[in-house]
Symmetry: C2
Subunit: 134 residues, 2 copies
């Protein structure tokens, strides 16, 4: 399958389309934007981390969920798992070049959202007041 | 809200931080990157749509899930709901300027992922083969 990446107008030429239910790109998009996948990619963008370091950085994730998240990202080729031959074994996780490309775009979205939260919270207050009144 | 997180070049000036469990930005990020929220924002980026048009565009979404998704996006101030005084009433959904800013960044991520799916699928095959062997 060949990729012909083009401006937005020509996107229907792409062989993959997240708007189609059966397209595998939808699953990958979910891995990278899921609750823990996105935060994991964002955390690893700053540099490689060990499992427990990652767990502290991604506040609120359980050991099981982080493990599942890392497996999905590793399988998609976005995260590289490096086991050091030490005793006890030391395992580092880092982004692959592909994972970095995705994390960059995700962080651009994250920072935009963080920077607009005052507006979002003001909109929520207005919405809740209006709904209370009608 | 004050953030006491480690260096992230300049970003620590921001009062909101998705890496903190209790930060409201995490909820908004989930609304815009959730399975249906992201696709809904992406679909509306092309122009305003009626409910049923949206439902056809976001392949696989149920009426109930689309309705919940639109409410969350409207409450966050990302989607505007315009009820026309016709009979039967006609309701259009469109992005607010804030929603457009978010959708742009989300679409950049979506198109990047769609454009790299050959690599992702090749990585999955390698991963599954290696795991089968060990």
């Amino acid at each position: 399958m060949t990729t012909t990446q083009e401006p937005r107008e020509g996107l229907d030429d792409l062989p993959y389309n997240v708007f189609a239910k059966a397209c595998p790109s939808r699953g990958t998009l979910e891995h990278v934007t899921g609750r823990w996948g996105g935060l994991t990619l964002g955390a690893l963008y700053e540099g490689s981390l060990r499992f427990n370091e990652l767990r502290r950085r991604v506040d609120g994730v359980s050991e099981k969920m982080l493990s599942q998240t890392l497996h999905a990202l590793e399988r998609d080729g976005l995260v590289h798992r490096e086991a050091q031959p030490t005793n006890p074994p030391r395992v580092d996780y880092e982004l692959t070049p592909l994972g970095r490309g995705i994390a960059e775009r995700l962080l651009s979205l994250i920072h935009f959202v963080e920077g607009r939260m005052d507006d979002v919270l003001a909109a929520r207050r207005r919405y809740d007041e209006t709904r209370g009144a009608r």
